[in-house]
């Protein structure tokens, strides 16, 4: 191997590792979040980001009338409990769903009657299962959104 090809090899190797590191979190939801049944399609509003214990972040997204949605939230294995809420994106930030009330479930399916702006508020609570309090290490958390067109006849619900 000539010196030039050795240098090239090292450069590709090092920058490859750097890119792979960055890639890990950006596509986390695609690899680790629970996928819905095959009637749902991947929705481009999905997102992954890095989180530390105690951190809260928001994902603002749009849901359309006549669609069904599936949301799955997943995180690094150290994060045993991830808290997330669905809020209306209005001044009051009306609470629509809180996974704490459902024992930290990681997925939800819902239908929409009218087009709306929602906020998915995700936080890593300071609980013993999630690591030491004050640990600033950031780890990946992903939000996978699936969507499908709803047949009108499927829209039956009880109060």
């Amino acid at each position: 191997m000539t010196l030039r090809s050795r240098i090239l090899f090292i450069l590709i190797f090092v920058f490859g590792i750097t890119l792979a590191k960055a890639q890990n979190c950006q596509e986390y939801h695609k690899h680790f979040c629970r996928i819905p049944d095959f009637s749902f399609f991947y929705n481009g509003q999905s997102k992954s980001a890095d989180f530390a214990v105690g951190q809260t972040s928001e994902l603002h997204f749009i849901v359309y009338e006549g669609m069904d949605y599936y949301i799955s939230v997943c995180g690094h294995k150290k994060y045993k409990k991830i808290r997330w809420k669905i809020l209306e994106d209005n001044e009051e930030r009306t609470l629509l769903f809180d996974n704490l009330k459902q024992n930290y479930i990681d997925t939800v399916k819902f239908s929409i009657k009218n087009t709306r702006r929602f906020i998915l508020e995700v936080s890593i609570p300071e609980v013993p299962e999630n690591g030491e309090k004050g640990d600033p290490t950031k780890r990946c958390v992903g939000v996978l959104i699936g969507s499908r067109l709803r047949e009108e006849s499927e829209f039956s619900f009880k109060e």
């Binding site: 010196l3 050795r6 240098i7 090292i10 450069l11 090092v14 920058f15 590792i17 750097t18 890119l19 960055a22 950006q26 596509e27 399609f41 991947y42 929705n43 481009g44 509003q45 999905s46 997102k47 980001a49 530390a52 105690g54 951190q55 809260t56 972040s57 928001e58 994902l59 603002h60 997204f61 749009i62 849901v63 359309y64 009338e65 006549g66 669609m67 069904d68 669905i86 209306e88 629509l96 769903f97 939800v108 399916k109 819902f110 239908s111 929409i112 009657k113 009218n114 087009t115 709306r116 702006r117 004050g134 600033p136 290490t137 969507s147 067109l149 039956s156 619900f157 009880k158 109060e159």
Partner: protein, 294 residues
């Protein structure tokens, strides 16, 4: 020679570990300061997402609009885009065109648009799924519209992924602006006549929310001159959408279906009057003309 080799290796490893060292240093600083105030001020991030042009066309197409072939940007224009901003804007425009063609199941026409996306992606150094493999898949699936739709969707998602991974979302902001302008332009042109009861008009008006999220997203990068310029150009469309009135339909509530899934009731109706529609159509035509024929 050997010394040069060792030196290059050292430089590479120092460079690749720089970010990690900085992270470690900042961790020490955070530990010694007030960790929780750091989280409150620095780490509470807000991410804005919005639907793709394909999703918007899918929704609008439910109102039974008729396909018009002349609305897309001509593929021959691709060589006219010299600077990277115009290349990014037109990558967005052609992405929306491809979404339009696949939603209306125009298989043969869509192939040319895949090629144009490949050309512009190469010019912008985008590593995406628009490569030789994709064209092989296209050839194999020419008569399968579902596969074609899926390939178009994958191509768009891979462009989005590229910019997210390379942390170059400012370019993605420009591409998305181009894509939305084209998507809204085509939709306005497909609506032959304004009517308050036209389902397509209400679908068009509903894009107010997508525009709000898109605008909030783009504004994150307005420190970059070419993003600032794009914001200035699309501002009239955003302002027009902001002027649309909203009326509450029903109070917000949640129900549960028999299968355990939820139903979110509530929301507002967004209305667009004839004057607003004509103004939007006009603004979009002006902006789009500047973009496709610079």
């Amino acid at each position: 020679m050997q010394k040069i080799f060792v030196f290059v290796i050292l430089v590479c490893f120092i460079l690749s570990s720089c970010k990690q060292r900085l992270d470690n240093q900042s961790n020490v600083i955070i530990d010694s300061l007030q960790y929780y105030s750091y989280l409150e001020t620095k780490d509470e991030k807000i991410y804005y997402r919005f639907p793709s042009s394909e999703e918007i066309f899918d929704l609008i197409n439910q109102s039974g609009l008729e396909y018009r072939p002349e609305l897309v940007n001509n593929v021959e224009n691709v060589d006219k885009y010299d600077d990277s901003r115009m290349q990014a804007i037109n990558l967005g425009i052609y992405t929306a065109d491809l979404a339009y063609l696949t939603v209306f199941e125009k298989t043969n026409e869509s192939i040319e648009y895949f090629e144009v996306l490949h050309t512009l992606s190469t010019k912008l150094h985008i590593t995406s799924s628009i490569n030789d493999d994709l064209f092989e898949k296209l050839e194999r699936n020419l008569n399968n519209i579902d596969s074609l739709k899926s390939l178009a969707k994958d191509s768009y998602n891979s462009i989005v992924d590229h910019f997210s991974i390379t942390e170059n979302e400012k370019t993605l902001a420009i591409i998305t602006a181009g894509s939305y302008i084209e998507c809204l332009f085509i939709t306005c042109e497909l609506i032959k006549e304004y009517s308050k009861s036209n389902k397509a008009i209400s679908k068009l008006a509903e894009q107010k929310y997508a525009m709000q999220n898109l605008f909030n997203y783009i504004k994150n990068y307005e420190e970059y001159p070419y993003v600032k310029q794009t914001i200035k150009e699309i501002q009239p469309v955003f302002d027009l959408y902001e002027s649309l009135s909203e009326t509450e339909i029903e109070e917000s509530s949640v129900y549960q279906n028999d299968d355990g899934s939820l139903v979110f009731v509530g929301g507002k109706a967004i209305s667009m009057n004839m004057e607003q529609f004509e103004k939007l159509k006009n603004e979009l035509t002006i902006i789009r003309s500047k973009y496709i024929l610079p």
